[in-house]
């Protein structure tokens, strides 16, 4: 055996003699990890188009002003929304499968209140244009369109036949859900940015559609649906039979109508519940009559629950046949129903059984839906099934005329109305800049951060913050708010429950897990970048991203 004593210089461990950076392992890659802003299901679901995942992230860090400004990018009414929105977002919250959906509405309410408490104002940053837009209808759709158009630099004039702006928010929603001062404060902000309000104006009297069309470069029609429905029953002329919207408006104007001890409310929607609960507060004994069963009621389940705990009685599977009495109402004859096959609305259709039952009452409030009063519309607009024909951005058949709110084919909620106003403002902007109407260009497309994009191992289980409800006994003594705002601590906690689906929160998991040190902090700002010279495309970063803000793109 040959042996040598020659000293050789060997390191203790095998170490490359050159920097390993020469080995560009990125060439081994078949797929690229990319950062992607996915749309969260709540954002996708929000009729007003709010960036919920985004403002939850800010609120969780106590950055309430930034959160407020993020909501205000889409919706000028956060404090109102935090009270009256039926939280469509929460029904799609990815957290629902983990424990309970995030109480988005409460966080929004806190942020909205924060904005009011700190007198946050809207910043106008765009230069003024020389174009003007008429908004007809000062409800949530009209005001939102006015707000967005103002942000874009247009002159905006709002016409409304009522004394004060707010539309259904002011005249249709009871004060125990939305106090006037909250609404006034949020509308007040809109006055401060130079929106011109022309209140008490009936189109056709001092000004007509033609004049409006001549004087303005575009018109947004959002006059609402206030034509009371015809129930087609006998006895509607008797004293004591009232329409829901008229009733709510009177109460909201402080004119408490004289009503009987016993009140029957006909209908199963949110207006019916509002009328029933308002009547309770006026001292009545209230029975709500609905022709289907509770599970088919369009009203929000929490509203139904609160009405029930406050003492509203329910008669299901019964519809009005005749209001009877001498000159005044003394009762209502109800036709008993049974549920038949499923109809177009996806619910089982009620069918009369032939049997009747009498309900003694002195007041009947009909809350069976309102429709469009066609004669109040610009004559050139085409209606279909009692709704103005318009696309998703409110564009009507008439050039320069856009429509939104309850007169177009969208659900009749404040949130949907706000969304329609926001979308129409974008379409009007495009129109005024002489660009072709293009629904695709107006629709932001984001991939969805659905549940299977998330890595739920990174989220612990935390219970949902319960809304503070005033005790039933105290509620009925006034029109004071039933639900109270959360504390700052609760808002931060609840916002912290949000997964921020689809949004990079700079949690650093990709950075920590990358086995090749190929994820780096973005030197130019937010988030991270991938060093494709060395990324082998293993995909660990994508797997470990808790919120679906990364994806693998396979290379050709």
């Amino acid at each position: 055996m040959k042996h040598t004593d020659r000293q050789v210089n060997i390191p203790l461990c095998c170490i490359s003699t050159t920097s390993s950076l020469v080995n560009k392992t990125g060439s081994w890659r078949y797929a690229n990890p990319v950062f992607i802003h996915r749309g969260s299901p709540c954002n996708e679901q929000c009729p007003a188009g709010e960036d919920i995942a985004g403002y939850m992230y800010l609120a969780a860090q106590g950055k309430f002003e930034e959160a407020w400004r993020l909501i205000m990018k889409e919706n000028p009414f956060p404090a109102v929304m935090g009270r009256v929105c039926y939280r469509f977002c929460e029904s799609k919250c990815n957290r629902a499968e983990h424990d309970d959906p995030v109480s988005i509405n409460q966080v929004e309410r806190f942020i909205g209140d924060y904005g009011l408490a700190h007198s946050l104002e809207i910043d106008l940053t765009r230069p003024e244009t020389n174009k003007g837009v008429a908004i007809v209808g000062a409800g949530p759709a009209g005001l939102t369109a006015a707000y967005h158009l103002r942000l874009l630099g247009y002159g905006v004039t709002v016409f409304d036949s009522n004394e004060r702006p707010g539309g259904l928010m002011r005249y249709g929603i009871p004060a125990y859900r939305l106090p006037n001062e909250i609404l006034d404060a949020e509308i007040g902000r809109l006055s401060n940015i130079g929106i011109d309000f022309r209140m008490g104006v009936n189109i056709g009297e001092s000004i007509d559609w033609e004049k409006i069309s001549r004087e303005f470069d575009a018109v947004f029609v959002a006059i609402g649906a206030y034509q009371e429905g015809d129930p087609g029953i006998k006895g509607m002329d008797k004293k004591g039979a009232v329409n829901a919207l008229d009733f709510l408006k009177e109460v909201n104007c402080g004119k408490y109508p004289k009503m009987g001890k016993k009140v029957a409310v006909i209908g199963g929607g949110n207006s019916a519940i509002d009328c029933a609960r308002v009547s309770l507060r006026l001292g009545a004994d209230v029975t709500l009559v609905y022709r289907r069963s509770q599970s088919e009621m369009p009203a929000h389940p929490e509203e139904i629950e609160m009405a029930r705990e406050e003492g509203v009685k329910f008669i299901f599977l019964a519809g009005p046949q005749e209001i009877y009495g001498p000159a005044d109402v003394s009762g209502i004859r109800l036709l008993k129903m049974s549920l038949g096959p499923i109809d177009d609305s996806g619910r089982r259709r009620p069918a009369p059984t032939g049997e009747t039952v009498d309900l003694a009452c002195q007041t009947v409030i009909l809350a069976i839906g309102e429709s469009l009063k066609v004669e109040d519309l610009p004559p050139s607009l085409i209606c279909d099934k009692n709704m103005v024909k318009a696309d998703a951005f409110g564009k009507t058949n008439t050039d320069g005329f856009f429509a939104g709110g309850d007169i177009i084919d969208i659900p009749h909620t404040v949130t949907h109305a706000i969304g329609s106003g926001r979308r129409a403002a974008r379409a009007i902007d495009r129109f005024l800049r002489g660009k072709k109407h293009d629904e695709d260009a107006l629709t932001p497309t984001l991939e969805l951060a659905d549940n299977n994009r998330l890595n739920l191992f990174y989220f612990d289980h935390r219970s949902r913050t319960k809304a503070h409800r005033v005790k039933v006994g105290e509620r009925l003594t006034s029109f004071g708010e039933v639900c109270l705002s959360p504390s700052e601590e609760e808002a931060v906690y609840e916002a912290g429950r949000c997964f921020n689906c689809g949004l990079c929160t700079e949690c650093g998991n990709c950075y920590i897990f990358c086995p090749d040190f190929s994820i780096m902090k973005n030197p130019d700002g937010y988030g991270y970048i991938v060093d494709l010279d060395y990324c082998k495309g293993c995909g660990i970063c994508v797997q470990e991203c808790p919120r679906g803000a990364m994806k693998m793109e396979f290379m050709e």
């Binding site: 050789v8 060997i10 390191p11 203790l12 461990c13 095998c14 170490i15 490359s16 050159t18 920097s19 390993s20 950076l21 080995n23 040190f517």
Partner: protein, 388 residues
């Protein structure tokens, strides 16, 4: 400062006082309270180190190797099954010359499940290139943990501190806890010198090595293991100089004039001290040899203690199926270089497996059996076992 500490707490104090910078560990009974204590120390700011939670012992050792290559003082602890799961990375730690310190609480191997003391887990790792130091009491545990870092870092070889499950891990004794400054004086901040991961100069470590160099790298481990014998002795002397406590690698107790010696390791040695004293009181010329270091195996010191003796009874709380107790095997291979006249007869006993007690009575029986039989045989060498 004097405190009553269980062995596991002593380990944690040892690691913390040594200024460990990264701890990566996975809990396993009876090791758990080591890393719980460390986690508390870290949370309370008593120890300034990063604590990496991992999903297995394999990952724990992997994280330790990475951290150690990053140039920081690194520690982990495990036992039994956890050490078995680490096995692959134990080889890697030595091959990559990372001076990781690991405290292993000796625990029996499954199946069947058994969480009590048994040395088979650590002795099974003898070919991995780790230095192994076995402790007799909790003070020795704390002191050895501190010394282990110094030994490991001097040699760039990973070092295992070993303590018996429950007999030490969960038994409390009054312990002298050295001052942090004094420990810093004995064990300065770790200087990784040239082997460490440097983001400014990325290099490949442990990459493919052909047959033309692999053997040299392995030789260096062997060379440094040989060197370890003197380094361990120096560090122990240095420690004794600083703190006044000395733990020889091989210690003879009442051994000078003894004819029959018991060789023990771990806590069995402390019982054996009493047994030998008792036997002496009965007029027997009994003695004890306690071995602390298993790797590198301290052959010269052992020969020094056993040369010319008549008989040696080796107590193995472990065994190698198909062969014998592991300490006995090692001892025989060392003693075979002696001439027939100088070489004692080696009696290998298997005792205390799976936590069964090795009592003074057990040790006395072993002594008398050794004394009275002419040669080691295959019968009755499993002490107290029910042969079935």
């Amino acid at each position: 400062m004097r405190k009553v500490l269980a062995g596991n707490q002593a380990v944690a104090y040892g690691a913390m006082l040594s200024g460990v910078e990264v701890v990566a560990a996975y809990p396993i009974t009876p090791q758990t309270t080591i890393i719980e204590t460390l986690a508390e120390m870290q949370a309370e700011g008593i120890g300034d180190f990063d604590y990496i939670r991992v999903e297995s012992e394999h990952s724990a050792m992997s994280a330790c190797i990475g951290a150690s290559m990053g140039g920081v003082r690194t520690f982990t602890a495990t036992c039994g099954q956890g050490l078995f799961l680490m096995h692959e990375m134990l080889h890697y730690a030595a091959g990559a010359r990372t001076p990781v310190v690991l405290a292993n609480v000796n625990r029996a191997a499954a199946a069947p499940w058994n969480i009590w003391s048994d040395q088979t887990d650590s002795l099974s790792q003898r070919e991995t290139g780790w230095i192994q130091l076995y402790c007799e009491g909790n003070q020795e545990v704390l002191d050895t943990t501190i010394m282990a870092f110094k030994i490991a870092e001097k040699l760039k070889l990973p070092t295992m501190v070993i303590l018996d499950a429950f007999f030490l891990s969960h038994t409390s004794e009054p312990i002298e806890i050295p001052d942090k400054e004094a420990v810093e004086d004995f064990l300065p901040t770790y200087d990784p010198k040239d082997i460490w991961l440097n983001p400014d100069n990325p290099q490949t470590f442990g990459g493919i090595t052909m047959s033309d160099a692999y053997m040299e790298l392995r030789w260096q481990i062997q060379r440094d293991m040989e060197r370890a014998k003197s380094v361990i002795a120096e560090v122990h002397e240095d420690f004794a100089h600083h703190f006044g406590r000395m733990y020889p690698q091989v210690e003879g107790y009442l051994a000078g004039d003894a004819e029959v010696l018991v060789v023990c390791t771990g806590t069995a040695a402390s019982t054996a001290r009493v047994a030998v004293e008792t036997l002496r009181a009965e007029g027997e010329r009994a003695g004890l040899v306690k071995i602390k270091t298993f790797r590198p195996f301290p052959g010269e010191e052992i020969i020094g203690e056993l040369k010319g003796k008549k008989k040696v009874a080796v107590i193995d709380r472990n065994f190698s199926p198909g062969a014998q107790g592991i300490w006995a095997q090692e001892l025989r291979s060392v003693l075979c270089e002696l001439s027939d006249q100088e070489r004692p007869k080696v009696y290998g006993y298997i005792a205390g497996l799976g936590g069964r007690d090795i009592t003074v009575k057990t040790l006395k029986e072993i002594y008398y059996k050794t004394l009275r039989s002419h040669r080691p045989d295959d019968r009755d060498m499993w002490v107290g076992v029910r042969y079935v």
